[in-house]
Amino acid sequence: MAITRRELITTIAKAGGTAAVAVTVGTETLQAETETTRIPSAAVGLLYDATICIGCKACVSACSEANDTPPDTRADGLHQAPSDLNDLTRNIIKLYKSPDGSQVSFVKRQCMHCLDPACAAGCPFQALHKDPESGIVFWYGNRCIGCRYCSITCPYHVPRFQWVGFDPVVTKCELCSKRLEKGLKPGCTSACPTGAVIFGPRPVLLMEAKRRIKENPGRYYKDKVYGETDNGGTQSLYLAKVPFDDLGLPELGEESVPAKTLRWQRRFYQYFAIPAVLYAGLVQVIRSNLTGYEEEAREREKQTGLRAQL
């Protein structure tokens, strides 16, 4: 029985349309819950003030020590001189100089512990997982397959992969969780001599940042705390006097990267409703086409005397 294109489309539309619409509408209300970024109950983070930082790099040494990582001396064999975050460097101080040399600022780069992390959204088996209480994004080696998707999806390019050896790991700041368990502060904040980077609960840090902005008008770029709502909110907050984009912190808007880019993907696969509907439709169509095809094949078999090739 030949099925025309029109019949095919109407079949799928009838059989699946109502269901699909219902599911999509239903998911809109459900999606609303998953799409607004949830702030963890005991969210902790860092507040880095680039106007106080003197670029001493004590935090870089302290980070290596706190995480039991050997210092990265691959550049010249003598100094711990990584040029960027890498598999031995979870925290780095970079220097920004404006093209005309008038503006200078240090910036401390480490994991931003986003409220809706793109790395965790992309990780196939949830090897990168945001702790629901502290909000720290941890890497679990027993689930990581080493696909490096996290280093591509992270808008701040934080997770770094180990490029040598047969057992590579993904390295990034985890807010010295082992020290936190002992009641200590993270290595970088403990070593900072000027208090440029401080540790605390996120609401407290936000309050502190806003207080500094209020008490120092004109000191901070656009009176803005980077990370309050950027990329859906991050737990590492930044204050600076030069544009954040120049420091390597891109302008991402208020929606997190996963929410912004994967919206339709998430809706399409919600509960596998739409794929299931498509599958049912396809089975119907193919079954009806298959019978016609088989009949023709049998006829040809009789004509030529050769076994049918299905």
Binding site: Q80, S83, L95, Y96
Partner: protein
């Protein structure tokens, strides 16, 4: 310098009797505070005056100083202070009851003096050992009054309250223990057991370190905190590299590469010349020698030899660079974005070759399509014709074979009939 007086008076009263000015004494105490700003109970109070009052209340500690395989440099370092009164002052504070270099006696008198000092202060004196102790061949390579050094040191230590091994030789063997170590020279702590021992390695070590340790013992009745090699932590915790005045040059990558070159003249870092600072624990980089700032090896442009460390000095070549165990960031900053990646020639050639091969093959194939359009159909026809011919031949063969089979079967049937 041995005094037959029993040191019962306090240091304060003794100094007063000796006519030492309070200013000189306070000056010495401030040097002690500078020597050990942390790590000593004595200097925990902080100010020189407080230290002075603590020292003043204590009794003059009795010190017996033995020499073994030494060069007497450690004694000289105690005496060669640039302010001569300081040396006298030191010797007024401690009661040096036996010292072969400094005492007037010799021979049998010296023997008696030692015996006397030991008996008078038994269990209370501090034994300072200078020089290594030979142990090979029952210790015959150094004898004191006919007795092997090993025996002497054990005997004198047996009645001491504490032992201070001053200098690298006494701490771990020093120069005499360099390869091939013919005399079996070892440090004091190898030979002495059962007594608290403090090692003060160095060649020579800072005299104020010795003074601080002795005074800590005298005033607080305890020895300072020691590390696993029995060195006081307040003086031997950090490596030279950590506090070196030339560290900024190291961090900035400014090195002297040959003696007398531009970098050397500018006072740049001596790491590339073989400075053992990064591997040597000592206090020389903060406390220079002879109380004159800048008078210390690196300060005058001579790379550190690592004289306190057993595994460094006389084991490593002087020009050999030592690995940095705790690397720290340099005096440079990475930019916000750093460039990575480059195009390797070999890979580029390979990719180009593949692209060229694919393109070329496609073009050639397309051409053959064009030319084979005409030829193809005929070729098929030709092949078919040939095969058809062969098929006909086969059919004929099969028919003939069938005929033969039939004939043969008939004959067989006839034969069978015949047999029946």
């Amino acid at each position: 310098m041995a005094s037959s007086e029993k040191p019962e008076r306090t240091i304060q009263s003794h100094l007063e009797a000796a006519g030492v000015s309070r200013r000189d004494f306070l000056r010495l105490c401030s040097v002690i505070v500078a020597t050990a700003p942390a790590g000593l109970a004595l200097t925990k109070a902080g100010s020189a005056a407080e230290v002075a009052s603590k020292i003043g209340k204590a009794r003059r500690p009795s010190v017996i100083w033995l020499h073994f395989q030494d060069c007497t440099g450690c004694t000289e370092t105690l005496l060669r202070t640039s302010a001569p009164d300081a040396a006298h002052l030191i010797l007024d504070i401690i009661s040096l009851d036996y010292h072969e270099t400094l005492m007037a006696a010799s021979g049998a008198q010296a023997e008696t003096a030692l015996r006397q000092a030991m008996d008078d202060n038994a269990g209370k004196y501090v034994l300072v050992v200078e020089g290594a102790i030979p142990t090979r061949d029952d210790g015959v390579y150094m004898e004191l009054a006919g007795r092997p050094a090993v025996q002497v040191v054990k005997e004198v230590a047996s009645k001491a309250a504490a032992v201070i091994a001053i200098g690298s030789c006494a701490s771990w063997g020093g120069v005499p223990s360099a390869d091939p170590n013919p005399t079996g020279a070892v440090g004091a702590d190898t030979v002495i057991s059962g007594k608290p021992i403090v090692n003060l390695p160095g060649c020579p070590p800072n005299p104020y370190t010795l003074l601080a340790v002795v005074l800590e013992y005298a005033t607080m009745n305890r020895l300072p905190e020691l590390d696993e090699l029995r060195r006081p932590i307040f003086a031997y915790e950090r490596v030279i590299h950590e506090n070196c005045p030339r560290r900024a040059h190291f961090d900035a990558g400014r090195f002297a590469y040959a003696f007398g070159d531009e970098g050397h003249r500018q006072g740049w870092c001596l790491y590339k010349l073989g400075c053992k600072g990064p591997a040597t624990r000592a206090s020389c980089s903060t406390r220079h020698f002879n109380e004159i700032p800048g008078v210390w090896p690196i300060g005058i442009g001579a790379p550190c030899l690592g004289c306190t460390e057993k595994n460094v000095v006389w084991r490593m070549s002087t020009v050999e660079t030592v690995p940095i165990h705790l690397a720290t960031p340099p005096d440079e900053y990475p930019p916000i974005y750093s460039g990575t990646g480059s195009i390797k020639a070999g890979a580029a050639l390979l990719v180009g070759a593949i692209a060229g091969a694919v393109g070329g093959a496609s073009w050639v194939a397309a051409q053959r399509f064009r030319s084979s359009e005409e030829a193809g159909a005929e070729r098929i026809a030709v092949d078919r014709a040939h095969l058809e011919k062969e098929a006909e031949a086969a059919k004929r063969e099969a028919r003939e074979w069938k005929k033969e089979e039939a004939a043969a079967a008939k004959e067989e049937a006839v034969e069978w009939k015949r047999e029946d």
